[in-house]
Subunit: 146 residues, 3 copies
């Protein structure tokens, strides 16, 4: 089991603690963490979120409440990664309440608003305003509340 130095709220569900790597993060009550997930130091995840299998959430990411992170979603915090960079500065990503990130999406350091739906397989390179749907970077339209 590799869950180290994490602050877990009440009723956080991690069905396969032997198949995750979580350290130094904070996960709100009622949230779910699937297998093959890595969440690293400094991440804050709100209440009642679902973090699906195969996702990676890095330091600098703050996730609100009731957020869905699909399978195989990769977050980033460095637009110019190098194998050996001593002067690296961590960039931030914020996701608002009630948003959903589709599976296999890639999230560059951006701000994603509330009640946003990112379609599966999207590469998100820009900030996304509240109440927006993005499907495959092709369509973008108003999303109804709720």
């Amino acid at each position: 089991m590799s869950i180290k130095n994490c602050k877990l709220g009440r009723n956080v569900k991690i069905p396969h603690p032997d198949l995750v790597n979580l350290y130094g993060c904070e996960i709100g009550s009622g949230s779910f963490i699937g297998p093959f997930v890595e969440i690293t130091r400094g991440v804050i995840i709100g209440k009642n979120c679902r973090i699906q299998s195969h996702s990676f959430i890095c330091g600098g990411v703050i996730i609100g409440n009731d957020v869905f992170i699909g399978h195989g979603v990769m977050f980033t915090n460095d637009k110019h990664p190098k194998a050996n960079n001593k002067n690296w500065i961590m960039e931030k990503t914020i996701i608002g309440n009630d948003s959903s990130i589709g599976s296999n999406s890639t999230i560059l350091p951006v701000r994603i608003g509330k009640n946003v739906l990112i379609g599966a397989g999207t590469v998100v390179t820009k900030d996304i305003p509240d109440n927006t749907i993005i499907y495959n970077n092709l369509e973008k339209r108003e999303k109804p509340h709720g």
Copy 2:
């Protein structure tokens, strides 16, 4: 080991049973399941398939015989995922015999025909007819049989 309530055919090969999460699914004889794979309740996989590492196959997916699922392929069964949705209806995906899905592809709920080749990194959002090659959503041409 996390293989629960699965119906496995003869000679199903799972070289790393401690590194998979399989439950409630059916896998045909002679098929191969790589490490870091999750396959969930209700999935049916045919005979002599290869499910490569890091792939996720969700309920609602039915896969024929002799199908290749590359590494890091993510299936989906919900076009409007939410962290907490009590009225969710599962959408289906069907893949015909002899088809291949390239690595890191994302499969929305669609019907993929027989003898189809989906190039690596493709986001599949529409049904794909038999005997079709799709490369990076850019090219689409007839594929010879066999």
Copy 3:
């Protein structure tokens, strides 16, 4: 633990040996291998590289020194994969020194030069010359050395 028949240099760091699948590969001194990584027979990785979580590196891939492989990067060695192909010929990928491959990228069999930066979420289908930046396949410009 699943690290078999590998040639590991001095000070190779594998913090979660129980969460990787490495076999028949060669990893240079000072390199780092994250969790949920699979590296297969014949892969050669140079010195002081970082191979981040959830990545898959297949036979036929040769990686230089000081290379960054992001999270969820999938390499390939067969442009026409089949579940059961007895006449399969492995294609090669070479990555030069000091290059970085962004997270969730998909690498078809190509030659990637030295000091290249591939943006996160890119599908790389063609050779990439030295000192190049590619972001989402949209922008391509000269990258300064170092």
